[in-house]
Structures are given as structure tokens and as C-alpha cells.
Amino acid sequence: MRRFFGLLSGDARSDRVVPPSGTTSHLTLFVAAAMGFLAVFALALAMTADRVADRWSDAQSQSATLRISGDAEQREARTAAVLDILGETPGIASSRPLTAEEQAALLAPWLGDDLPLGDLPLPQLIEVIAERPGYDTDALQQRLNDEVPGAVLDDHSGWRAPIVDAARGLRRLGVISLLLITGTMAATVTLAARATLAANAQVIEVLRLVGAEDRFVAGAFVRRLTVRALVGSGAGMVLGVLAVLLLPPGGETQGFLTEIGFGGLGWLAPLAVPVVTAVVAFVATGVAARQKLAEFS
């Protein structure tokens, strides 16, 4: 680490001996930038999918509906009993019987608003809000079966599973892309470092011939290439973040990918991209420089 920062701080003397620029160095800069850009994208994808998967699986465990049937009296007694049980169940944040109006609203799509439901022995619905990590659905249902006849728990998993699943698939895809891009980035920066060193074989030879020590020669190249990778991927990262910000908004409705981006502290994550790139470049260039130097006596 100290060596890393020591190197980056620079040494004007040995910096001058490396040619200032050239196509291969542009290549290093550009590849670092491109990879930084793509990495930010993959990161945004993975983090968004993560957020969405979390929210939907939260939603799933947080909100469930309990249906209590029976005639009016039974319903009242059972509701009280169920509310007691729910109160004792660990992992439940709150529970609340729905009012008649709320229940009617739920049924409206199927029955319309004008049906005289008041006469009907409609089941009582109870909204159950879970805590994190949530309660044991099966155990609760079991206890209800035992103690309160006619109480059925519906945790909406049937409805929401596909969406959670999709979000999880997306997250997996984002993570895989991120790994791929990081790997590509590392390999490309390594190769670019090697190409730069190969292109500068004559510089290295001349330096060795006039009595430069390995650390002087390697230092000059490692510093130059690390800075280049840092600057390149930093620029790519900034462009990537801008691009994520400028992504055309989704539709009118609030779909879960209309909000692609980083949430809150997540905005700090892209900062890791240039850091990782620089560290990779530092190590790769160091190894490549030592290998290249060994070719010259």
C-alpha cells in the first residue's frame, strides 16, 4: 500500500525517461475508460436488481392477508383470537382487520361497486405486516389451523414469486456481467501494459545500458501505466455515471427498471471501479515490467 502510493506520488526524474505518449498508451487509457464505463453499467444493473429483488421479497414477506370465514359472531371471535395469535408471533410488525370499505374496494374489479355485499357473510380480511426477517409462514398457518377454524393465511407468494424471481435473475446477470467485465478489464490492462513495455523495449535497453537500476526503470513504467489506468477508468466511471443518470426514463407507470441507478450510498460504489482498475494495473505492470527487464542483462 505504501509502495503503491509512494509510486503514484511520482519522480520527475524517472518519469521523463518514458516516452510521453503513443498509440499504445492511448489504447491503455481508452481500454481502461471503456471498461470503467461498462463496469459502472453492470454495477448499476446489479445494484438496481438487488434493490428490486429486496423490495419485492420484502413486500412478499411483509404484507400478507388472513381470511377469516364464518358467520358474523364467529368472525368476530375468530378475528380477536387471530389478532391475539398474531400479536404473540415473533416477526410480525403489525396486523389490522380491513374495514368493510377496503374489502369492497378489493372486490370491485370482479363484482362492481353496486352489489349489496352488506347482506352477505363476507369473510373478514386481516392485513399482516411482517418484520424483517419475517415470521415462519408454515408454523403460523399450522397454529391457525389448530386454534382458529376458518382462518386462511395468504402470503401472496403465488402472485409475487415471478417478479422476485425475475429481479433475482437480473441481479445474478448483473453480478456475472460485473465479474466478466472486471476480468476483461484486468486482462486488457495487463495486455496493454505488456504492449506498452514491448513497444518501449529500446527505452528499457538504453536505460539498462547506461546503468539504470531495475527499480528505476520499472518504477517509471509502473507509475505511468497505473496513473493512466486510474485516469482512464476514472473518466470512464464518470461517463458511466452520467450515462446512468441520463438513461431515458421508463414508461408512465412505475416499472421496476425505470429506476435503474444507484440508491443513496450506492452512488459511492462506482468509486471502486477506478480504484480496482488502478490496483490491477499496478500489479499487472509490476509483473510485466519485471518479466520484460529480465530480457535485458
Binding site: R16, V17, Q202, V203, E205, R208, L209, V210, G211
Partner: protein, 225 residues
């Protein structure tokens, strides 16, 4: 300074030297001659450690060159100034900076050595070309710049491979005088050259000995010079 003990060398296609024992004492002045392809450059490379002998051993300043670590080798290079036959430079630095390169890599204070650099540029006739880039030099100018680079650190040993191959007679004489002066200050000098008239001219100025490569041997040349 430099001692060869039963040295043999072979690039892989047959021995160039069989069994060379030789000593270049401090303060001596040697020429090395031999036909093209006889191994002059190879011999010089052995002396400054760019090649290791395939047989025997070579001592530079008392230490076995083959046993030197890479950092030892860097130090050795600063004590031996070398003019290579194909003089290479850093193409992105002007001539003056290229000549000062040994100062740079050994961490000397460039400001202090400025006078030294200016004198040297004058000696090799490159004062006016100091700011040119290597690609803009003529063949002879390159050789002169290479010689200046070889001597700027004031090394104990100066080894030059055909330093006057591309240089006219007057300039050769002038460079020779520079080397003779350095030799009279106690430096050891070894020059490979096929230019007999230059060697004859030098013998009139300095106690120079001539080594000749023939029959896989490096021997002192006889009275024919």
C-alpha cells in the same frame, strides 16, 4: 581492471573464442582489431557484462561479472562507459538529455554537472545540435553523442566499439585526443576499430597496445603495426 581467465565464448554455432587469458590493467590503452565478424563486438560485450562467457571467467574491478546481481550490473555499467556500435538513444529526449542520461539514472544533480555537459558537447562538436532529437542527427553526430554519453560519468573504464566508423578524419583525430586525455587522467581505454590509420596515429600519441582477434584467440599484435 578487467581480467579474462581462460575465457571461451560460443553463440551456439561454434566457438568464437577458445581460451583467452588477458588482463587490461588500470590506466592502459588498448585497441582491438580483427576482420568483420571476427568477434570484436562480442569481446567488448563480454568485458562489460552484456554477455557471459560460456567458458572461464571474467573479473571486472576484481569481481566475477557472471556472479553479479542485476543491481551490481547497474553499478558496473556506471563504472564502465560504453560506446555501442549501433548507438541507441531515447528518441523522445533531445541530444543533451540523452548525453546526460547516465547522470539522470544514477541520481546525480544535473544542475551541478551542467558545466561538464557543456564542455563535453563542445568537445564532440555538438554544441549547436544540443536541442536536436536523435532522429535528426547525422550518422557521425550519433557516434559522437554516444561517445559523450559514455564518458559523462567519468567512468574508470571506457569501451568503444568502432567509435569513428562514420566520422571523417579530422573529427576522428579530435575524438581520439579526448580519449587520450582521459587515459592520461588514469582511465582504462579499450577501442575496437578496423581503421589502421587511426590506430597508427594513436600510437604516436599514447602508449597504446593493439589486440588482434585471429584463430579464436585475442593476441597482442606484432611489429606490423
Amino acid at each position: 581492471m578487467i581480467e579474462l581467465e581462460q575465457v571461451g565464448f560460443d553463440y551456439g554455432g561454434g566457438a568464437l573464442f577458445g581460451d583467452v587469458s588477458l588482463s587490461l590493467p588500470a590506466g592502459s590503452f588498448h585497441f582491438l582489431t580483427g576482420p568483420s565478424g571476427s568477434g570484436k563486438t562480442t569481446f567488448l560485450k563480454l568485458c562489460y557484462g552484456a554477455l557471459n562467457p560460456t567458458k572461464g571467467r571474467i573479473l571486472a574491478f576484481g569481481d566475477d561479472v557472471a556472479a553479479a546481481t542485476r543491481d551490481d550490473m547497474a553499478t558496473l555499467r556506471r563504472r564502465i562507459g560504453v560506446v555501442h556500435q549501433d548507438c541507441r538513444f531515447l528518441d523522445h529526449l533531445p541530444v543533451a538529455d540523452n548525453i546526460a542520461l547516465p547522470l539522470t539514472v544514477s541520481g546525480r544533480d544535473l544542475a551541478q554537472e551542467q558545466q561538464n555537459l557543456t564542455d563535453l558537447l563542445g568537445w564532440v562538436g555538438l554544441s549547436e545540435r544540443a536541442d536536436a532529437y536523435p532522429a535528426e542527427l547525422s550518422g557521425g553526430e550519433r557516434q559522437r553523442a554516444a561517445l559523450a554519453r559514455a564518458v559523462i560519468l567519468s567512468p574508470d573504464v571506457i569501451i568503444a566499439d568502432e567509435p569513428t566508423g562514420n566520422i571523417d578524419w579530422d573529427m576522428s583525430q579530435r575524438l581520439l585526443r579526448l580519449l587520450v586525455d582521459l587515459n592520461s587522467m588514469g582511465k582504462t581505454v579499450l577501442i575496437a576499430s578496423h581503421d589502421m590509420s587511426l590506430i597508427r596515429a594513436a600510437k604516436s600519441e599514447v602508449q597504446a597496445r593493439v589486440l588482434r582477434i585471429s584463430n579464436k584467440q585475442v593476441q597482442l599484435a606484432g611489429a606490423d603495426l
